[in-house]
């Protein structure tokens, strides 16, 4: 008998006298915590990202190239990894040498690159999380892992959801996902949080979208997609 058959047989015998049940799981928990406007959700995202030591920037789409160039220069980045589908306009003003994300790059080569710029798939306000799904503007998982400085651009409000349940609804489980909440950290020394272990020690998030107050009229409530 194979171990597969042995284990399945043991499971069936173990459950022989268990009562049958076919009631669906009741999901009485909330889909989202609290009632927020779109702008408040973005505010909460910024607040929670910063609470876990991500550096948060906000700018309008027109200022994105200048903002990114400024961030890379401030970091002193000489090289920057670029996913294949990243909008070329984003890095049009950057001085750093652009290195494309290639399948043949070795981890050692990636380790010599200063920064990486990506977009994201979705961002979760309640937890201060950005989620990457390896889309063309995000690249392979390793490019946001090996370099020590990650800049992630979030399009607000379209890519922002309030809660974890809402994020899962938007994501495709068949794609490899990386959920990032702040820079790499550990609680392994005396159960106290310290930032900066193996992943990027600097995480900067750019929330790009129409700036509040930049328009004549207050922003309208837009139902998220």
């Amino acid at each position: 008998m194979s171990s597969r058959e042995r284990i399945l047989g043991r499971v069936r015998r173990a459950l022989a006298d268990a009562p049958g049940e076919n009631t669906p799981i009741e999901r009485t928990y909330l889909r989202e915590h609290g009632d927020r406007s779109v702008e408040e959700t973005t505010e909460l995202l910024a607040e929670n990202l910063a609470d876990y030591r991500a550096i948060v920037h906000r700018c309008s789409p027109d200022d994105l190239a200048v903002t990114l160039a400024g961030m890379l220069a401030a970091r002193g980045a000489k090289t920057v990894l670029v996913p294949p589908g990243l909008d070329p306009a984003w890095l049009a003003d950057a001085d750093a040498e652009q290195v494309p994300d290639r399948p043949e790059s070795t981890p050692h080569e990636l380790d010599r690159i200063d920064s990486v710029v990506t977009a994201c798939a979705v961002a979760v306000a309640e937890t201060g999380t950005i989620v990457l799904d390896c889309g063309p503007d995000q690249g392979r998982r390793r490019i946001t892992l090996v370099p020590d400085h990650h800049i992630c651009v979030v399009r607000v409000p379209d890519q922002v959801v309030g809660s974890v349940p809402q994020a899962l609804e938007r994501l495709d489980p068949l794609r490899p996902l990386t959920w990032i909440s702040g820079p790499s950290a550990t609680s392994d020394i005396e159960l106290d949080r310290v930032e900066g272990v193996h992943g990027p020690r600097a995480l900067e998030v750019v929330l790009v979208g129409a700036q509040p107050g930049a328009e004549a009229n207050p922003p309208q409530e837009v139902p998220s997609a």
């Binding site: 009741e26 915590h33 937890t127 390896c134 392979r140 349940p165 489980p173 068949l174 820079p183 392994d188």
Partner: protein
């Protein structure tokens, strides 16, 4: 389970040594109190905690009730996504499968993500015997591995070490395993984390084989989930060419949507964060991104035996958050090593004796490693009634009875050490079945009360208890006589 725990003394003896170690007690007190307050705050942030906890419990119970179906479904979906599924009935088989898979790659070293399942089966030792070196990459696991130590906490295996001890271990041992500790290393946590980063980086970059566990496996999609903080998990899951994940069969959830419960309750319960820094999910293999080969080893190793126990099976709901350890007054004082298992604390006290059986001295003593205060149940994010299972297992140890071991029903003998207790209970049963005998005894006791000693020192194990306690004073008249005299005639 891991060979490192073979021959452990019973819990009381091991705990006795631990409580007399002031450094250990200080370290544990500091760490558990730090995390307790933070966890309370993180939980209070979500107004629907009770509902999330109830949903988590129900999802897990439902999964366990249909575990055979979900295992088959998981196997199909992982296979369809390009993964290769293996089944291991016990630790030995799992170790053999993993060793052969590593050998087939031609590599002689692997990098490991912290995983309770591989700790449980003693995988590192098995690989070592086959000439394969396994590098632990989680900071706390690294501290344990470098210190030739044993883990003492589910989440933070080196919780028993303070920063000064960690500094000393790094300075002394890192050069044996690779890049030495930086010159002039101090004991600030940030510098220690930096030392670990430098030490492990080279190993990550050259690694060809990664070994992991998983926090969850989604049956409908074949997705595995690893929740972590440092990024060592991401390194092991994405840089190597081959990934081998060893996962207990109870880690299944039926649907992708079910993750919405656990991704909210697990981080808040374990590290007291809204969300842990990194969560990786993967479904089979992805062309051009990450490992080209993915093996999933499904591990039984006592889980189906636990499933056969109607009361005890709820332990399989555990998501290994370790909140129960952090609140436990016994764990705080005794430390993790006293539990003689990779699963310490309250959850360990109900899990180890079920996974391993109660025949060894340590496993028979574990159900007693608790004051039954119930704090563990209060904080458990999947509502495991740990005190209920502890009492159930105590009954099993004392009375024996039918249990399932390796899939077969066996009858356990009652424990030897409880002969006096059983004799006392038999005498009580005899007396209480005979009201006349009870009455005569009570009257005799009342009439001779002036002759009773204040204390009754017992010989043997009862000495410490009886020497320091007064005997309860006997009233001048038994209650039943008094009742007859004052109330009985009123009717």
């Amino acid at each position: 389970m891991s060979g490192t725990f073979v021959g452990m003394p019973a819990f009381p003896k091991a705990a006795h040594e631990a409580v007399n170690n002031p450094t250990l007690r200080g370290n544990l007190r500091h760490a558990t109190h730090t995390i307790r307050a933070k966890r309370e705050k993180a939980v209070a942030e979500v107004s629907d905690w009770a509902e999330l906890r109830e949903a988590g419990k129900r999802i897990k119970d439902h999964t366990l009730r249909h575990l055979d179906d979900y295992l088959v479904q998981l196997e199909e979906s992982v296979t369809a996504a390009g993964g290769i599924v293996h089944w291991a009935a016990d630790a030995e088989e799992a170790n053999r499968i993993v060793t052969e898979l590593v050998k087939a790659t031609g590599e002689s070293e692997v990098v490991k993500v912290k995983s309770m399942a591989t700790q449980e089966i003693g995988l590192n030792e098995a690989l070592e015997e086959a000439g394969i070196r396994a590098y632990e990459t989680d900071l706390a696991e690294l501290i344990v591995q470098l210190g030739k130590d044993r883990p003492s906490h589910i989440l933070v295996p080196a919780i028993h070490r303070n920063r000064g001890e960690i500094r000393d271990i790094f300075e002394r041992e890192m050069s044996e395993w690779g890049r030495p500790a930086p010159q002039g290393l101090t004991d600030t946590p940030a510098e220690l984390a930096e030392a670990a980063r430098l030490h492990l980086r080279e190993k990550f970059l050259r690694a060809k084989v990664g070994i992991s566990g998983a926090n969850f496996m989604v049956a409908e999609t074949g997705t595995l989930v690893v929740v972590e903080s440092e990024g060592n998990g991401r390194m092991c899951l994405t840089l190597p060419e081959t990934l081998i994940s060893v996962v207990g069969i109870e880690k299944i959830v039926p649907t992708w949507q079910d993750l919405e419960v656990f991704l909210q309750t697990l981080p808040r319960s374990s590290t007291a964060e809204r969300m842990n820094p990194y969560t990786s999910t993967w479904t089979g293999t992805t062309d051009g991104d990450g490992p080209k080969t993915f093996h999933l080893v499904l591990l039984d190793n006592g889980r189906t035996d636990t499933l056969a126990d109607e009361v005890g099976r709820q332990a399989l709901r555990c998501i290994r958050c370790s909140a129960c350890l952090n609140v436990c007054p016994v764990y705080e004082r005794a430390g993790g090593h006293a539990y003689g298992s990779v699963y310490p604390g309250p959850i360990g006290a109900i899990l180890s004796p079920q996974l391993r059986g109660t025949t060894s001295e340590i496993d028979a003593s574990l159900p007693y490693a608790s004051s039954l205060c119930g704090a563990c149940y209060e904080v458990c994010p999947v509502a495991i009634d740990i005190p209920e299972v502890l009492v159930h297992l105590r009954e099993r140890v004392v009375q024996g009875g039918e249990v399932t071991r390796e899939g077969n029903k066996v009858v356990l003998k009652p424990a030897k050490g409880h002969a006096a207790e059983r004799a006392a209970m038999r005498a009580a049963r005899w007396a209480f079945a005979r009201p006349g005998a009870v009455r005569a005894g009570q009257r005799l006791a009342s009439r001779t009360r002036r002759l009773h000693p204040r204390r009754l020192p017992l010989p043997g194990p009862g000495k410490a208890w009886s020497e320091t306690r007064d005997l309860p004073p006997v009233p001048a008249e038994p209650f039943r006589d008094w009742w007859q005299r004052t109330q009985g005639s009123a009717k």
